[in-house]
Amino acid sequence: MLKIQDVTKYFNLNTVDQKLALSQVSIDLNEGDFMTVIGSNGAGKSTLLNIIAGVHSVDQGAVLLDGKNILVLPEYRRALYISRIFQDPMKGTAPNMTVEENLSMAMARGKKRGLRKGISRGNREMFKESLAQLELGLEDRLNDKVGLLSGGQRQAITLLMSTITSPKLLLLDEHTAALDPKTGSKIVELTEKIVSDNNLTTMMVTHNMEQALSLGNRLIMLHGGKVILDLKDDQKKRMTVDGLLYEFERSRGEKFVDDRVILAN
């Protein structure tokens, strides 16, 4: 359902700061796949998600969602199909608006907005139920400004906002990295539950290898803008943290060899 074909992305192309962020990346996701994405800092993980979501353009390649080329759509038009959550819990919610208003805006994801009431009474009960499932006591705080909540609570609301309309694709970029470990694992737990309840096709960037192995049915490792490992179902199940580390070292070694070749020339 998501096909990424041969995508290459440079930043600052044709300047002294030119930087190859993604190099001929190809990924194929099926409906309901949950893919974890790992790789060192600067490997291109965020860039990959940003390209899918429409924040960045590509220099080469194609991105197809259900067979349709989505690269021609601006970011706000892709919102109908694609939800995303960022590392920074401040990014996913409007702090000076209430919990209820934030959730209502998420209900209108990708739809044409008009002069109807932005908050419908009918939704309120549904919001309360969904919030109660988070078990963070948020169901009583519908009318509180989101800015008053903790980072973990805000990220939980962001998670709800991203999934409340069951998007075709959910993109998570280290969405627990800025939280304390306890809150972080709570959010991971919720993520797993919501993704499986709604059978959402998901890509999740994480720097936690154990998490990357325990969650989902797919795993890719990026390095230097290239996919250096792409594991499916059984392969993924058999993989270990040590195995991942070995693969990682091996790719670095290869890079080292590359560098030596360049230096030798």
Binding site: R84, S104, R113
Partner: protein, 296 residues
């Protein structure tokens, strides 16, 4: 004489509140410091005055500025979103351009309206006590616009406009076109500002090409005084605070005049007032910080 001053200040408070609500929409809701206001206010005055002396009905002359004010806002919005010019500069450019346009509309720097039929003489014709017509008219307009904003800012589009000022990144990822939201907000804001300009021209009996100078600061003064004095909890509270702030501001100006200051000093007073009020929350924050430091 003092009572006359008081009534006049309250009248002015309400008629300028219409402008201040426009400023609130850009400055507070959209987080966009829009200087178009200094041009769109006299634009409204110019249009209303010119139409009235040309014999148009006072009603149409009063409402026409809404449309042209909106156009001015749209131009600033386009300069900013499509032309990629910073918000501050985009507003200044439109404001400067409007100066020439306003002179073209008026043909001369000042149009007197003394013996003309205006919306105020129209209402006065209903046989009300002498002090009532302007006040009643402006109270009604200010409240209608307050209620309009209270409704609009809770519609689907209204929420998206508020989110555009609060977290544009997030609302874009939810599928709203933030460029269009900004343009729409600027259009509504400047429509209100121009409408206020048209009313003020009819109220004071003339339109003057220079009557917009410093208008943005007067608007800000009303918004900020309102917040400091009445608080700014939700939207409904905030919009009534703007109206209250506008009245307090005009009373403060009247007090300054009564105490012997010249009208030409008022811009300085206003600037000082805004500086003071803007720093007040900071002063408050500093005080409470010190307090916790002492407590802790």
């Amino acid at each position: 004489m003092k009572v006359g001053f008081l009534i006049a200040s309250v009248e002015q408070g309400f008629v300028y509140a219409v402008m201040a609500l426009g400023v609130y929409l850009t400055f507070r809701i959209l987080d966009f410091p829009d200087l178009t206001v200094d041009g769109s206010f006299p634009l409204g005055a110019a249009i209303a005055a010119k139409m009235i002396v040309n014999g148009s009905s006072p009603l149409i002359s009063t409402f026409m500025p809404l449309i042209f004010g909106a156009l001015a806002g749209i131009i600033t919005g386009l300069l900013h979103t499509k032309g990629k010019i910073t918000g501050l500069l985009a507003g200044i450019l439109t404001m400067i351009a409007l100066y020439s346009i306003n002179l073209r509309i008026m043909d001369k720097p000042n149009i007197p309206l003394l013996r003309e039929e205006t919306i105020i003489t129209m209402v006065s014709g209903l046989g009300l006590p002498k002090w009532l017509p302007s006040l009643a008219l402006f109270v009604v307009f200010a409240l209608i616009i307050k209620l309009f904003l209270d409704w609009f800012l809770f519609t689907e589009i209204g929420l998206a406009i508020r989110a555009t000022g609060d977290n544009p990144h997030m609302i874009r990822s939810l599928g709203a076109n933030t460029d269009n939201m900004k343009i729409l907000g600027l259009a509504i804001s400047n429509a209100l500002v121009a409408f206020s300009g048209g009313l003020v021209a009819q109220y004071q009996g003339f339109a003057d090409v220079g009557m917009g100078i410093g208008m943005i600061i007067a608007g800000l003064a009303a918004v900020i005084i309102g917040e400091v004095v009445f608080g700014a909890g939700g939207i409904k509270r905030a919009t009534i605070a703007v109206v209250g702030g506008s009245i307090l501001y005009r009373l403060a100006i009247a007090a300054a005049l009564l105490s012997g200051l010249r009208p030409s000093d008022l811009k300085l007073i206003t600037a000082l007032l805004v500086v003071f009020a803007l720093s007040t929350p900071r002063v408050k924050a500093l005080l409470s910080q010190n307090k916790t430091a002492v407590d802790g």
